[in-house]
Amino acid sequence: MTIEEVQEELVDEFSMFDDWMQRYEYMIELGKSLDIIDPKYKTDDRIINGCQSKVWLHSELNDGKVIFTADSDAIITKGIVAILVRVFSGQTPQAILNSDAKFIDEIGLKEHLSPTRANGLVSMIKQMKLDAMAYQAKLNS
């Protein structure tokens, strides 16, 4: 699936819910099902700045696709991380760089997009794109 397709799928899933509480409960479920990051990558240098809760993000390039794994010590943040991993993991660096995150608004989690928000969703996306940029540079060289 392309990034757009995964995003549409998520928008569809979240459209089933009528209120914020159901959306959050689903997000928490997504967080719980997130593939746990290999403990050896849960190091301080992989912590994303700008989060009140801790977020660890690891990426590697596998067969031209970026594979993200992540974790957080807060469950709502972990749900957001899970959504981002689902959207961006397994995609090419170029596709990640060309994508946007407008779907976050469409699934009713707009409040997490504010740059001042302490969960650092914006920082997470930025870090994912930076990783993609580094892999893209590697592929081009």
């Binding site: 928490i28 809760s53 807060a74």
Partner: protein
């Protein structure tokens, strides 16, 4: 006057707004207090009717603005029972006042002198003392705290010696709500001739410190924690220190005579008030103090204690909930965690339910390190909060716990 909570709530326009579809329950009062209409009116009145620069103009507006600003200073002097109004220095706020003292104290210190601070300081407030120590070669000593979140006084006594030149303690801890025994802290510091600076950012909406009775050397606070506007506060500086210490910043207002060879400084308080001050802020601060005194601090504290007691009891009924800061002397702050749940998650759900609390380390990382936690959820109550709002908080926390565990 009698304590009429509904009448008081009506004074605060913001308390009738909704957040995320729910009536706002504002429990982040330790961060900043909301403003009564009377303070908002004072700001509008100043800019609408007599905005002018002060202390120099011969024209009517300037006279009126100067009179109002200086009347506010006298109001603040009276409120805190300072001996002289020129001991009340207007500042942009608590942090500025602390930095001012830390800066001008450079001339008082030599290598090997000691500064004592407490383990429960706002971490940003530790930095000015570290910088002062770097400049002078003085040494920073820390008063430890116990598991209840209270300072260990016997350890403080041990730290005091003839090398101690300055003691810096907050009146009330922002993260835990602990009220520190500042009268005793000052008394013991003075026995070794050390000066004392008290950070009153958290205290002045709950307590009315009496500067002369405390015999404190320096005391700082911010107007916005007392229903006043942001960007204005005071540094109380005992006159003998004001005369002795050098100015902090150079500029207008703080000078007497200037030639290229020599400048003589203005007297107190202007020596420490360089540049055009926050005139409107000072005047509105005065209005806020009038407002609080009109309700009365005894009534405020009685109501807040009731809120604290009720909230503590109700919250502790939630399984797995632990409160941090459980000493006997504390103000209306409940800092807590629920076992296995990140404070950030709880805060996020509470916000969705219209309940405003603070989560995180509350700029007091040393305290969080002490308890080995990433942070807490902090609900801080003000005199305009109600028992019904405590119930809403407790129900919201239960809901959050259900969703998150």
């Amino acid at each position: 006057m009698s304590f009429n909570i509904q009448k008081i709530r009506n004074d605060f326009p913001i308390l009738s707004r909704k957040v995320n579809g729910y009536p706002l329950v504002y429990l982040d009062n330790a961060a900043t207090l909301q403003k009564p209409q009377l303070v908002i009116d004072a700001i509008v009145d100043y800019y609408s009717n007599y905005n002018a620069n002060i202390h120099r103009g011969v024209h009517t507006l300037s006279q009126e603005a100067t009179d109002a600003y200086e009347a506010a200073r006298q109001k603040i002097q009276k409120h805190f029972n300072a001996k002289e109004s020129h001991e009340i220095l207007f500042t942009p706020g608590t942090t500025y006042g602390i930095n001012l003292v830390a800066h001008v104290f450079t001339s008082e210190l030599k290598k090997g002198d000691e500064i004592i601070v407490s383990a429960m300081e706002h971490h940003s407030n530790i930095v000015p003392w570290q910088m002062l120590c770097e400049r002078t070669g003085a040494i920073l000593k820390v008063i430890p705290m116990n598991e209840e979140g209270a300072l260990i006084f016997s350890e403080y006594e041990k730290l005091l010696s003839e090398k101690t030149k300055l003691v810096f303690v907050n009146h009330i801890s922002n993260a835990l709500g602990t009220i520190n025994p500042i009268a005793k802290i000052i008394e013991y510091a003075h026995k070794v001739n050390a000066a004392v600076l008290i950070d009153g950012a958290q205290s002045c909406s709950h307590i009315k410190p009496n500067f002369q009775e405390l015999d404190v050397d320096f005391y700082v606070t911010s107007a916005h924690k007392m229903c006043g506007p942001t960007g204005i506060g005071i540094l109380y500086m005992k006159e003998e220190w004001g005369n002795k210490l050098p100015p902090y910043q150079g500029g207008g207002e703080m000078i007497d005579q200037v030639t290229f060879e020599k400048t003589t400084y203005a007297g107190l308080p202007f020596k420490f008030e360089a540049g055009t001050p926050n005139i409107c802020g000072g005047i509105a601060f005065g209005a806020a103090i009038d407002y609080l005194n009109n309700i009365g601090f005894d009534a405020i504290v009685a109501h807040e204690d009731e809120l604290l007691e009720y909230a503590t009891k109700k919250l502790l009924e939630i399984e797995g909930l632990r409160i941090y800061g459980t000493g006997p002397d504390k103000t209306s702050v409940v800092s807590f965690n629920i076992e296995g749940i990140h404070p950030y998650d709880i805060g996020t759900i509470l916000d969705k339910l219209g309940v405003a609390v603070r989560t995180g380390h509350h700029c007091a990382q040393p305290i969080m390190d002490f308890y080995k936690i990433p942070g807490t959820v902090r609900a801080s109550f003000a005199f305009y909060n109600t028992l019904e709002e405590v119930d809403i908080l407790v129900e919201a926390v239960k809901k959050a716990k259900m969703m998150l565990s």
